[in-house]
């Protein structure tokens, strides 16, 4: 353990400069052609395959695997990408253990599932070495506004462009991609993959991205509805839940830390605490904790208020964290944060499951940290005028909102499961519905 790991406070450069690359290397390295062939051979080519049913974008998985097995990865990629244009990102970040691979019949047979995620990556990596393979239909003369260049907005825009429409994406941030660019774990998206994928996707033509355009500030919905034939909102979740306890402002949203890390040109310049506490139990908590460790934090704990079985992060994700040296403390809720000479003291009370929900007990303990992150959920600041449901924009099956001519999808919309792949599915489906309604 390098001595800079034990330097007190929140400081950059805890690792030897040469060690960052290895620390943040691809967490699931790609298959070489032989391993891909072997992995593909394991697919049973199921009828009405359960893996496909479990994929929110409904990729024809047995077909694409068979195309890999027969030596045509480019055809496999077209199968994938025609259902999911961000199949490259999804191959890297989908929690396959609960989606396609979790439903592989090989699991029922007591074996490891077919490595669908890695095979999807194998195919899409090859396709992305060439221009994106889709062409545009004859121009329709229709113009559509998309707000947000995250996976939902990009999937919607690409499909609309394919169908012959002109798309303008209005994006608040300086770079496109939404959480692909600012949120997903660095070790899943190595080599600037988010930006490369978007460059490739934009090769379809007919899509313009305008950066620094914020709906609600310098853009308003009425203007968009007037100026365009249809509007799609892929806003994601801009807000984060804050702690509701004294000293809450001593904690920082984990998503801010991750965004900082993802945007850093040089990871050795990203400061991190010697001791880090992450409050929460989802994918964001895991990613923040693991990446804090990888930056060289000596002691990282995730504290979750329920037990591990109840954690939204899958068992696979939890194992990933613990094998990275993250400690998971279960059944503890934060009571107060206070700055002390030793750092930030976070007082927790143990919880118990009661008949009417979680009960906070009197038994407490304190963790002292240099940095405290919260990952207890993100929130939508919904644009005015929309019906909402559980804090998300209410939508019909194809993404229609309560406002005529406006569709929504992804995290901001009802039914989005806060997964990249559902955002893609909803964006794509909204595009098809927009197209149908414009043909009308």
């Amino acid at each position: 353990m390098s001595s800079s790991q034990r330097r007190p406070g929140v400081v950059p450069g805890r690792l030897d400069p040469a060690d960052y690359a290895a620390a943040f290397a691809d967490c699931a390295p790609p298959l070489d052609p032989h391993r891909a062939r072997v992995a593909a051979d394991r697919c049973y080519f199921c009828h009405d395959a359960p893996c496909t049913a479990a994929c929110p974008t409904g990729i024809d998985i047995p077909l694409f695997i068979r195309q890999i097995a027969t030596g045509t990865p480019e055809a496999a990629a077209r199968t994938i990408l025609s259902a999911n244009i961000l199949g490259g990102t999804c191959a890297r970040v989908c929690p396959t253990e609960v989606l396609c691979e979790g439903n592989c019949v090989r699991v029922a047979a007591g074996e490891a599932p077919v490595e669908i995620g890695l095979l999807q990556r194998f195919a899409t990596d090859r396709a992305m070495a060439a221009p994106q393979p889709f062409t545009r239909a004859a121009a329709t003369g229709r113009r559509i506004a998309v707000v947000g260049a995250g996976p939902a907005g990009l999937a919607c825009a690409h499909r609309l462009a394919m169908l012959g429409h002109e798309v303008t994406i209005h994006e608040a941030r300086p770079r496109p991609g939404g959480l692909n660019e600012y949120g997903l774990a660095a070790y899943k998206m190595v080599d600037d993959f988010a930006a490369r994928e978007i460059d490739w996707l934009m090769g379809i033509g007919g899509i313009t991205i305008e950066h620094g355009r914020v709906l609600g500030a310098d853009l308003n919905l009425a203007d968009l509805r007037d100026g365009f034939d249809a509007v799609f909102l892929g806003l994601g979740l801009g807000g984060t839940n804050a702690l509701d306890c004294p000293g809450a402002d001593l904690a920082e949203p984990a998503t801010d830390f991750i965004a900082r890390l993802r945007q850093a040109d040089d990871l050795s310049e990203v400061p991190v605490g010697r001791r880090v506490v992450v409050i929460g139990g989802g994918m964001t908590a895991i990613d923040a904790a693991v990446q804090a460790r990888l930056l060289g934090a000596e002691d990282v704990a995730i504290v979750y208020r329920r037990d591990r079985d109840a954690m939204p992060a899958s068992e696979h994700e939890q194992d990933h964290a613990t094998s990275a040296g993250v400690r998971i403390v279960e059944c503890a809720a934060p009571k107060a944060l206070a700055r002390t000479d030793a750092g930030i003291a976070v007082a927790f009370a143990y919880t118990e499951a009661g008949p009417d929900g979680l009960v906070v007990t009197d038994e407490t303990f304190t963790l002292t940290a240099d940095q405290v992150f919260t990952a207890i959920g993100q929130t939508l600041l919904p644009p005015e005028g929309f019906e909402t449901q559980r804090g998300r924009i209410a939508i019909g099956p194809a993404g229609r909102t309560s406002v005529p001519g406006v569709w929504a999808g992804g995290d901001c919309a009802q039914g989005g499961e806060e997964l990249t792949v559902t955002a893609v599915a909803q964006g794509r489906d909204a595009a098809l519905d927009i197209h149908a309604s414009l043909q009308g």
């Binding site: 032989h34 051979d41 049973y44 199921c46 359960p50 019949v105 090989r106 029922a108």
Partner: protein, 434 residues
């Protein structure tokens, strides 16, 4: 413990596992290693006449067919007979036989179709102390164009003639190795017997093109842009070889003629199957070219355990035991009725049985709630395709309907044995006996 010792034409070997005439038996070095590893015998790589040896290509000689995980299931070769000088081979054969008197050492021969050539080579081989000769009438490439190998093996009259020369000019046991590149394997076997052959061995390799390079538009293996048909062997050819062995074993004209079984033998089980269909021993080539000589250990332990489990003492006791059960289609019991049954506990719900039956058979597997797959007895014709495509061993089985019960598909009572020869739908049916 069963004793695997085997005797074939009076040639003794500690087990019935021999190496076929091929690269594994082309040199003293290889054969010594094979014997050290435990092989019971070898058929030395085919020798040709004295003089300038044949020349092999210096590019790739093999083409391959793979199963999952690059498992070699079929191999094709365009190699010729030995390309080493005759005297070197003979000297080595003599040395090896001297050092391994308990192993079988048979020499494979292929010389032009004139009696003098055969006389010449037989005399040379006899001097080595080898146990016997195998006449290579099988090689489908290179030598056939020169009037040898399968060019002889495809003409029964030539087989008979050459075999007779060999028997007249030598006291050594003579095995005739047959080519599968014919329409009816019984004819060359009958010719060999007429010529006085002591045994037949089969199969040699099958004419084949393994694959085509779709950039060069040339068959593989490709030699400077061109390819040629080669000989196919390995696990993929086993079913063809088994049938040919069985045909000879049950043919009245050749019944009792000893057979050395060759073609895709890779495990003890393959060997036992060949033997059950009438082969007294087996010869192996591709399997050792894939995995090395060590596989004989598995073959020895496997066959020995199998015999023990069956309460048998010697492999000879299984030779030919399945032959009486090989029959013609017309004698199969048409009243024997089975139905597929899917074991729901071991079903993994892949749906392959359903789609196979639905798309290509008899629409007899229904999808129930929660992806349960159930056979509809009223539609199942018992083809067993579902069993074959199911990835879970033992999940789908064929259940026999007892005599006297009603087949829900036909509505008819399952009757006693009855075959096509007496079936009412057969216009040429024999009158059923009163």
């Amino acid at each position: 413990m069963a004793n695997l010792a085997s005797e074939f034409l009076g040639i003794r070997s500690p087990n019935p596992f021999w190496l076929a005439s091929a690269p594994p038996t082309d040199k003293e070095y290889n054969v010594r290693r094979a014997f050290e590893a435990g092989w019971g015998g070898v058929v030395w790589k085919t020798l040709g006449l004295d003089g300038a040896p044949v020349v092999n290509v210096s590019g790739p000689r093999y083409g391959a067919i793979y199963g999952p995980d690059r498992r070699l299931i079929g191999l094709n070769n365009i190699e010729l007979i030995t390309d080493r000088p005759l005297d070197v081979n003979l000297r080595e054969i003599k040395a090896v036989k001297r050092d391994y008197p308990d192993r079988a050492l048979v020499v494979s021969l292929m010389v032009p179709c004139d009696e003098d050539s055969w006389k010449f080579i037989l005399r040379q081989v006899e001097e080595t102390g080898a146990d016997g000769v195998e006449l290579n009438f099988g090689c489908p490439h290179g030598m056939a164009e020169r009037g040898m190998g399968s060019a002889v093996g495809q003409v029964p009259e030539y087989i008979e003639m050459v075999t007779r020369w060999v028997k007249q000019n030598s006291r050594m046991p003579c095995i005739v190795k047959l080519t599968p590149n014919i329409t009816d394997i019984r004819r060359p076997a009958e010719a060999a017997r007429r010529g006085g052959a002591d045994a037949v061995s089969l199969i040699n390799t099958i004419n084949s093109i393994t694959s085509v390079d779709l950039d060069l538009f040339a068959p593989e293996p490709t030699i400077d842009g061109k390819g040629t048909h080669g000989g196919y062997c390995g696990p993929a050819v086993k079913p063809i070889a088994l049938n040919m062995v069985a045909e000879i074993a049950r043919n009245p004209e050749t019944r009792g003629l000893p057979i050395s079984g060759i073609g895709g033998v890779s495990t003890w089980r393959d060997a036992a199957e060949f033997m059950a269909l009438g082969a007294s021993n087996v010869q192996v080539c591709t399997a050792v070219m894939t995995y090395g000589f060590k596989i004989v250990e598995e073959m020895i332990s496997g066959l020995s355990d199998y015999l023990d489990a069956k309460g048998l003492e010697s492999p000879a006791q299984i030779v030919g035991r399945a032959v009486p059960n090989v029959t013609d289609w017309q004698y199969l019991n048409l009243n024997y009725t089975t139905k597929a049954v899917i074991d729901q506990d071991s079903c993994i719900k892949c749906g392959r049985c359903h789609i196979a039956c639905e798309d290509t058979s008899h629409q007899a597997i229904a999808i129930g709630p929660d992806r349960t797959f159930v056979v509809k007895d009223e539609d199942c014709v018992a083809c067993n395709l579902c069993v074959d495509v199911c990835p879970v061993e033992g999940c789908i089985t064929m259940k026999e309907l007892p005599e006297g019960s009603v087949d829900p598909r036909t509505g008819k009572v399952v009757g006693p044995y009855g075959n096509w020869t007496t079936h009412p739908n057969n216009p040429m049916a024999a009158e059923p006996a009163e």
